[in-house]
Structures are given as C-alpha cells and as structure tokens.
C-alpha cells in the first residue's frame, strides 16, 4: 500500500515536472492539450450538430418570415392590382364622360350621368334601373341618352318612374315607348314605337316617303319631349305594303346596344307643354 502511494506520488511529480518542462518549452498547457485530445471530437460533433440545429432553426425562421413576407407581398400585389383596376375603371369612365361631353356639346340642356344598377330583361317591360333619382333633380319623362361606341350620342329611352335615389328608364324598344322622329336624309316624319325585342317600328311614314335601308333616324323635336336632332338608329327594312293604305312602315335598329351599357346620361329637360 505504501509502495503504491509512493509510486502514485512519483508519477504525479513526474507529470507535474513534464508539464512544467513543456510549459517552459512550448508555453502550452498539457491539461488543455489532454482535454483537447479527449474532447475535441465531442466539441466538433457538438458544434456540428448545434450548427446544423441553429441553421435549421434560423432557416426555418427565415422561411417562416419569408412565407409571411411572401404573403404580405402577394396581398400587396393584389391590393395594387385591385387599385390599378379601380383606376383603370375610373379612367374608362372618365374617358367615356369626356367623349360624351365632347359629343354632346351641341345639346344645350344640362346632363346628369347615371350608372345602370339593374337590367331586369323582363320580356314584358324593357326597362333599366339607374342610380339617380329625385334627389339628383330627375323627374318623369326626361330623355335618356347614351354614347354609341364613343362616336355619337343617341337616345335610348325616357325616365318613367322616379324614386328618391333610383329611377326606372323605359327603353325605346318597349312597346309603350313612342317618339316623333324623322329620317335625317329626307326629313320624312313618323312615329317610332318599340317592338318588344331589340327593334323598333317606324310608323305613319307618308306613302311617298323615300325611305331606304341604312337611313339614319333622328328625333324631330315635335313631340315636346325629346329635343330635335337626337340620333336613334338606322332603318333595317321597309314594308312594301302600305299600312291602312296610306302609310309606310319601316323597322329601325337602335344604334346603341342597350344591354352593354353601364353609364347613361339624363337630359334635364321637362316637357315643353303640360301633359
């Protein structure tokens, strides 16, 4: 036992001596060297794993952030797209209004633009609903115009029912609609009536009237409702047989495609004679 103790003390002494010598020669620390030999693989593997671990989490967090960022950017794109569409729509409306304003300069009456809010398409009543009513100054029997492809302004109907915030417009294709019109080329007058579909009749044309296919029909201004010179449509056919032996009848196609409209214009014009 004593031997063993003295051997251990000797070994410790030698170890301390060697350590001192090595420290003196290399300036190193043998304990650190020894710890390094044992623990370096552990450190390396630990570092490697923690590096990977940290990288994984940082990547994950980065991805999460990226996803959030992506989502945010997508939302931003959507928002900008919707805003762009909104502005495009506004621009379209503005262009339409500008065109209409230029085209309608000869019409001296004040005009109100209205948006079509509903097209019932009822076969028994050709009406449209607009978003302007009595609070905007509308009243019954006012003429309603629309832009025909940005090239002309044409009559499309008449206000028939006025509520505070909305109104009904009777289209010129409704059988109840009637207007005093004339053929632009010859000046022959007749009464325009709706046919129910997308066509109108032109009745009570004089038998001697020289009416041809393609002739332009405009309002005559004699009915006290519509101002003179408003474009309506063109003749598509003329009946060869006289009606009641005295009058010719022609078929008129309105120049405006009524069901593709989104904006109409109401002329603030009251009937000139009380009806």
């Amino acid at each position: 036992m004593r031997f063993k103790k003295s051997v251990i003390v000797l070994f410790i002494f030698i170890f301390v001596f060697i350590c001192g010598v090595l420290y003196g020669i290399k300036g190193g620390n043998i304990f650190s060297e020894l710890l390094g030999i044992f623990f370096s693989p552990v450190w390396k593997s630990g570092t490697y794993i923690s590096d990977k671990f940290r990288k994984f989490f940082s990547d994950y967090l980065f991805l999460v952030n990226l996803k959030k960022e992506n989502q945010r950017l997508k939302e931003e794109i959507l928002f900008l797209k919707s805003q762009l569409n909104y502005y495009k729509e506004r621009e379209k409306i503005y262009r339409k209004l500008e065109k209409f304003y230029k085209l309608s300069l000869p019409i001296k009456y004040p005009k109100i633009a209205a948006r079509i809010i509903y097209r019932p398409l009822d076969p028994f009543s050709r009406v449209i609903f607009i978003d302007k009513g009595s609070k905007d100054g509308l009243s019954s029997q006012m003429p309603v115009l629309a832009s025909a492809g940005g090239k002309a302004v044409a009559l499309i109907g008449q206000v028939v029912e006025v509520h505070r915030t909305w109104s009904k417009v009777l289209l010129l294709t409704d059988p109840s609609f009637a207007a005093d019109v004339k053929i632009q080329r010859t000046g022959d007058r007749g009464i325009l009536k709706g046919k129910g579909g997308n066509m109108c009749f032109l009745d009570y044309l004089p038998s001697y009237a020289d009416v041809k296919k393609g002739d332009i029909v405009i309002t005559s201004g004699q009915d006290a409702l519509f101002p003179p010179g408003l474009l309506i449509g063109h003749i598509v056919s003329v009946n060869k047989k006289l009606v009641q032996g005295l009058f010719k009848r022609a078929y008129v196609k309105p120049i405006v495609n009524i069901y593709n409209l989104d904006i109409v214009f109401i002329l603030i014009k009251l009937p000139q004679i009380p009806l």
Binding site: L121, P123, F124, S125, V127, V160, S176, A178, K195, F201
Partner: protein
Amino acid sequence: MTFKELILFFLPFSILIYAFKIFLTNSILFYPGDILFALAIASISLISFNKVCYIYLFFTGLLRGLDLINIEILMGLCFVGIGFLWEHFERYFEIKNFESRLMLWFIILVIYEFVNLIILLIFKLRTEIEFFIIINLLMHSFLNILLTYIWILFFYYLIKKLYLK
C-alpha cells in the same frame, strides 16, 4: 306556413332568389323566366296553405313587380289571386300526387301568363294593339312559361330538401 317560418325561411329565401336573379340577368344578360313566381308556386305546393301564405305571396308579387313599371302592388295582388286559385283547385280537385301537381302547375302558369298579358295590355301598354305586338308577346309568354315551369320543378325539389328534411 306559420309566421315564424315565413320570417325565418321563406322571406329570406325569396330575397336570396331575387338576388340570384339579379346576378343571373346582369352577368349573362339572359332572362331566366319568372323565378319568383316559380318559387312562390313551389313553396305553396309543399306547405299547408293558410292566411300567412297570402302575405308571402303578396311580398313575392311586390318583388316581381319591381321589374315592371308602376304595377308592383297590382302584381302583388295578382300573386295573391293565383294563391287563392291554387288553394281552391287543390281542395276541389284533391291534388295529392306529383303528376296531378305537374298538371296544376301548368294550368296555374298559363292563367298567370294570361293575367300578366291582360295587366300589361290594359294598365301598361300605351300603344295600339297590333298583330306584331301580339305575336311578340305570345312568343315571350311561351318562353316564359317554359322557363318558369323548369324553375318550379327545381324549386320544388330544392325546398323539399331544405325545408321538409
């Protein structure tokens, strides 16, 4: 039909169908027939008829009349009249099965279209009645009857599934 059923199911359903009709006409520009009348007829075919039904019919008639000019209340009354006819036809002819209902729907629909034409000709149309106008109205009526009949069948099955589960 009880008042609670009217408020909680039938009136909201009518408004929903009206909104659907607005969407349909405004998006595809096609007249889908008299949807509200079809809904009213399909509804009263499935429920026990009482006085509350008349309120429901009047309301759907008002909604239907919005598409026409100045005859909303008249359309409401027309719907009530059709409901009155339905109630009595059902009782007198002892309508119980589906086949006889099909026939009765057709008769009611034709009567309704006829009344519609009368209302239109007397109250609305301010022009002389001509051959072309009559032909036009008859063709529209035929299309209307056909489309509305299909809608009645559709609503009959829909309400049966939703309401009489």
